[in-house]
């Protein structure tokens, strides 16, 4: 059998501005935490991949952050495309951020029909927990068990974060076992990659002085 590539699974973070999506992203990417919202630290960082091993199988989780688009505008529908999993994030001390999740859930099922959905209550280190386990359970029942699992995390202390991502990796390996085998069938679409090294072509329609002609190897 041919060598199989380690499958990449796009995982997206969804939820209101300020619930800690970028903090989860930073914990995941660099295992750090900054207390105030410091955009600089993730500026230019698009997504981050980590490999997990689940029962002798390797899987790559590719975590995507919103880039802060949800602050005033809405997130592009592109963000959801090709996602295998979506994490609905809310802040445990902010009931409003929890109650608005049904809206985010709707976006996920609209644009990423096949994504598995997870629920994450963040900021578990804060004393005043205003969203209870019971609330979370009720939410899952209300959305017809679309939610595969629920977690409580604290990006500040790091508690529960790594556990959540390993568990999601496990869920995705199970969900994909059958699908990966089917996948070979209909995928003639592709990503554009830089062309391989080739002689510099002075004839290409290139705007003068723009370095777009030189091919990235």
């Amino acid at each position: 059998m041919a060598l199989t590539k380690v499958p990449e699974q796009k995982v997206i973070l969804c939820g209101e501005y300020g619930v800690g999506k970028s903090s989860l992203f930073r914990r995941y990417a660099a295992n750090t935490f900054v207390s105030s919202s410091d955009r600089q630290s993730t500026l230019g960082l698009d997504h981050y991949e980590r490999q997990y091993k689940v029962n002798d199988k390797f899987i790559k989780l590719q975590l995507w952050d919103t880039g802060g688009m949800e602050r005033v505008a809405s997130i592009t529908s592109s963000y959801y495309k090709f996602a295998e999993a979506a994490i609905l994030v809310f802040s445990l001390d902010n009931p409003a951020s929890f109650h608005v999740l049904s809206q985010h859930l709707l976006d996920i099922v609209t644009y990423a029909e096949n994504a598995k959905i997870f629920l994450c209550g963040n900021k578990s280190d804060l004393g005043a927990q205003q969203v209870t386990d019971q609330d979370m359970e009720t939410f899952c029942e209300q959305c017809h068990n679309l939610v595969s699992a629920t977690y409580r995390t604290s990006c500040k202390t790091g508690q529960g974060v790594e556990e959540m991502f390993s568990d999601i990796a496990q869920h995705l390996v199970q969900a994909n076992r059958s699908r990966l085998e089917l996948q070979a069938m209909d995928t003639d679409s592709f990503k554009i990659t830089p062309p391989g090294p080739e002689p510099a072509d002075p004839s290409c329609l290139c705007v003068k002085n723009v370095k777009c002609c030189c091919v990235v190897g």
Binding site: D46, M69, V72, S77, S78, D188, P195, S203, L205, K211
Partner: protein
């Protein structure tokens, strides 16, 4: 909103989103506003199907159209040249990672007899083509060989014709190509919309033909690519690039005024709020008094349940109807994409016929294109004014993009964007500023 920005971009069409991304990457503080509540403006792919129907005041689609949200219908049909400017921009900005593409299956050209023929691009195809007689095939082959061997910096390959001086007409004549062959070469390979190029130096035309064949060499079947889920994914990709480099997005935000001081823009007002800035980048619809109408483009969106007859059941196609073949001054373009691109419900196809308007009965002008399609379940006709800025924007700090023309690819789109960026910032875009490896690295 009440803050100060280096640049405010108005409208989230493809050109504005590319500019926004390039400006943010260059370290500028950017505010990007759209009056609509969706991304893309006229570059959006309309979804669900119900929205497309209501946009054109048509009654709701019935159940034969399948699920409304399986549709993503472009308003402005274009393909990407696999070796063209937009692909370079996508690669160098890393935006390509948000997208998946399919190769367009076939490229066809229409001839006087009312038939369509596959566009021959190499010697083998030229010899099996029904477009030319036997002797003409030989002459065309010689011409193709000349173009393939041509090097701008090597006069030995010029065949004694200085490409900066000799007109394309002279080059055709030297190879003895008949008017029909000239026609499909100029319109289906070099992708000119009219015949003005014949009397210009041949260099540009030769480069365009090379772009076509280089693009073809990249992925095979045709030189064109099309993104899954429609062209609306392109502006969104660049918007995300802008956002992750710190750009701020506001949708559904009316723009009431560009605030000026001594003839230079100092901000944008929305209701009682005002954002200050040094520059504004926008499409003409935000500054109607600073743009002039220079023409019209007619586009007809056709929903069909079959491919175009005579194309070997291709699931995606481009057909060019050169102006002369139907007695016009500008070409008619037909493009077709399908459910396999996630732009239509299962077994549906979306065709688009478009051209530059020449008469006061534009709907008659596209008949030659519509006739090729076979039965059409639903048609939507859209006539769009084409605007150009009245000045270069340097004095006012307001840089305006041209409307999207009738061409079927993005080459002119990218040239306009790169030109605006250069005017606005005084420099060419530095692709090395994009850290596009960061996200792709393991651990």
């Amino acid at each position: 909103m009440d803050e100060e920005y280096d640049a405010i971009v108005l409208g989230t069409g493809l050109k504005e989103c590319i500019l926004s991304g390039m400006l943010s990457v260059s370290g500028k503080k950017v505010l990007h506003i759209d009056r609509n509540k969706y991304y893309g403006g006229e570059s959006a792919s309309i979804t669900p199907l119900e929205d497309l129907f209501s946009r054109f005041n048509a009654p709701k689609p019935d159940e034969t159209y399948g699920r409304g949200r399986d549709w993503n219908v472009d308003l402005i049909p274009k393909f990407l040249m696999a070796h063209g400017q937009l692909v370079k921009l996508l690669i160098h900005t890393g935006v390509t990672r948000y997208l998946e593409f399919k190769s367009v299956e076939g490229s066809y050209v229409y001839n006087k007899s009312g038939k369509i023929s596959k566009v021959p691009v190499d010697e083998k195809e030229a010899f099996s083509s029904d477009l030319m007689g036997l002797f003409e095939k030989r002459r065309f082959k010689n011409f193709l060989v000349y173009v393939q061997d041509f090097k701008e910096d090597d006069p030995k390959t010029w065949k004694d014709m200085n490409p900066n001086v000799t007109t394309m007409k002279t080059v055709y004549d030297k190879f003895g190509l008949d008017p029909n062959t000239q026609d499909f070469t100029g319109h289906a390979l070099a992708l000119y919309r009219d015949d003005d190029y014949l009397n210009l130096p041949s260099l540009t035309t030769i480069k365009r033909i090379k772009l076509y064949s280089d693009s073809l060499a990249r992925y095979g079947k045709s030189p064109y690519l099309y993104p899954m889920y429609g062209l609306g994914e392109l502006p969104q990709g660049f918007a995300r690039l802008s956002a992750i480099y710190g750009g701020t997005y506001m949708l559904d935000k009316p723009v009431d005024e560009l605030v000026m001081e001594n003839g230079h823009v100092i901000g944008v007002r929305s209701g009682k709020e005002m954002a200050r800035c040094k520059q504004v980048y926008c499409d003409a619809s935000y500054v109607p008094d600073k743009a002039r109408k220079t023409g019209q483009v007619i586009r007809c969106i056709c929903l069909m349940s079959h491919p175009v007859p005579g194309t070997n059941d291709a699931l995606s196609t481009q057909i060019i109807i050169p102006q002369k073949q139907v007695g016009r001054k500008s070409d008619i373009y037909v493009s077709l994409v399908s459910y396999t691109h996630q732009v239509a419900a299962k077994n549906w196809f979306v065709a688009m016929v478009s051209t530059t308007v020449e008469t006061d009965q534009p709907e008659n002008e596209i008949q030659h294109g519509l006739k090729l399609l076979g039965p059409i379940q639903q048609k939507f006709i859209w006539i769009q004014d084409y605007y150009e800025p009245i000045d270069d924007g340097l004095a006012s700090g307001i840089f305006i993009s041209k409307s999207y023309d009738a061409t079927t690819h993005f080459e002119t789109t990218c040239l306009d964007v790169l030109d605006i960026f250069r005017r606005g910032t005084g420099e060419d875009f530095d692709f090395s500023k994009v850290k596009h490896d960061l996200g792709d690295e393991d651990q």
